[in-house]
């Protein structure tokens, strides 16, 4: 049982490492946010689950469960708020970008007013 928990924890930590690597390698802030949010959410979920499996005799399952639920609910919200703020203060997308519908719509509205 403990070995199985250890394997799950190891997979989770590999996803955490991939998230940090994505933060370093991606070219602009929106792509960094994508890599960071997704990889760290699943990585933390697997990491905590593995530790809960390994420590099954202590009564800490409930707290780890509430921690996992909390992270799943709040991580996308903070990422969304940051992306919105970054687009609002005008941080540009990378040169490889194809389209930017939000900037198009905003400039249209300002032109109409």
């Amino acid at each position: 049982m403990a070995v199985f928990g250890g394997i799950v924890t190891l997979i989770g930590s590999v996803f955490l490492l991939l998230g940090a690597l994505g933060i370093v390698r991606m070219p602009d802030v929106y792509n960094r946010m994508q890599a960071g949010t997704k990889a760290t959410t699943l990585g933390t979920l697997l990491f905590l689950t593995g530790i809960a499996i390994g420590q099954i005799e202590c009564m800490c399952i409930f707290r780890i469960l509430i921690l996992i639920l909390f992270i799943i609910f709040t991580n996308p919200i903070s990422s969304h708020a940051l992306a919105r703020a970054a687009h609002h203060i005008g941080i540009p997308l990378t040169d490889k970008s194809v389209t930017d519908a939000l900037a198009d719509d905003e400039s249209e509205k300002e032109g109409a007013v």
Partner: protein, 86 residues
Amino acid sequence: MADILYNTSAVIALIAIVLAGYRSLKGPNVADRVVALDVMTIISISLIVYVAALAQRIIYLDVAMVYALISFIGVIAIARYLERGL
């Protein structure tokens, strides 16, 4: 065997925290730094839970919970400041 697996994953999470810290120190503008801070927070929550399992004390999990709550509020405050001032 299980101890080796747990310690290896802690070392990998430590490498991840160092990489995110590199981006937080280097990042070209403010939003990059805040994203790196967010990722560092989530990884350090995992590290805190690992330390709790290592020391066999339940109260360490409370620290992780308080940390998740407070850092969420901090990131929201920074985003709101960037958008229109606090």
